[in-house]
Amino acid sequence: MKVDVLLFAQLRDAISADHLELEVEDGTTVSQLAEELMASRGDERVRGLPLRYAVDETFVSDDYRLRDGDSVALIPPVSGG
């Protein structure tokens, strides 16, 4: 199935994209998706970065299982304010 991955801040810099359309296996969790992406596309700037995840503009837990068409954002530690 296909998911849209949104990237921000240092992740956008490291992966040189603000979003990616990825093919993932059924049952993949958001944290598995992130791990695979970090392994294939990440660099030393973002490895080990603690991430949170949002689907449909709402935080989800690490073990949220992706569905076809989901738009998932990888959320590095926020620093607004």
Binding site: F8, A9, A54, E57, T58, A73, I75, P76, G80, G81
Partner: protein
Amino acid sequence: MSAPSSSNDTTVEITDDVIDAAAFVGQLRPDSGAVVTFSGVVRNHNDGREVERIHYDCYREMAQREGERIVNGIKEQFDVRAVRLVHRVGDLNVGEVSLLVVVTAAHRGDAFAAIEALVGLVKERLPIWKKERYADKESKWL
């Protein structure tokens, strides 16, 4: 400023424009004795380095929705009247306001408790990221 959302005396706004504090605080009603504001200001130094300017990246649609969840939660949790939040994103200079929140209440204790909780949640949950650019031209995501 763009796209304010309002319901029941709570507002959230994510904007690229300079925050007009007087206009933002000015539209309050005289049923509240206590008005507390918090402004986050771009500092000219951080961690011993001289900061020249900063850039805020933002997941805009989510920041708007998460902001609304935060202010509505504060309004439910505390005995307050108005709860308002505006966050500026994009490029900011030293001394400019990045975040402005306002809480009004009949009693000051409620207003202080609510605004501390509100700013804490903003810093914990709003999907906004700051990149500092230093006088030596290096820059860093925080």
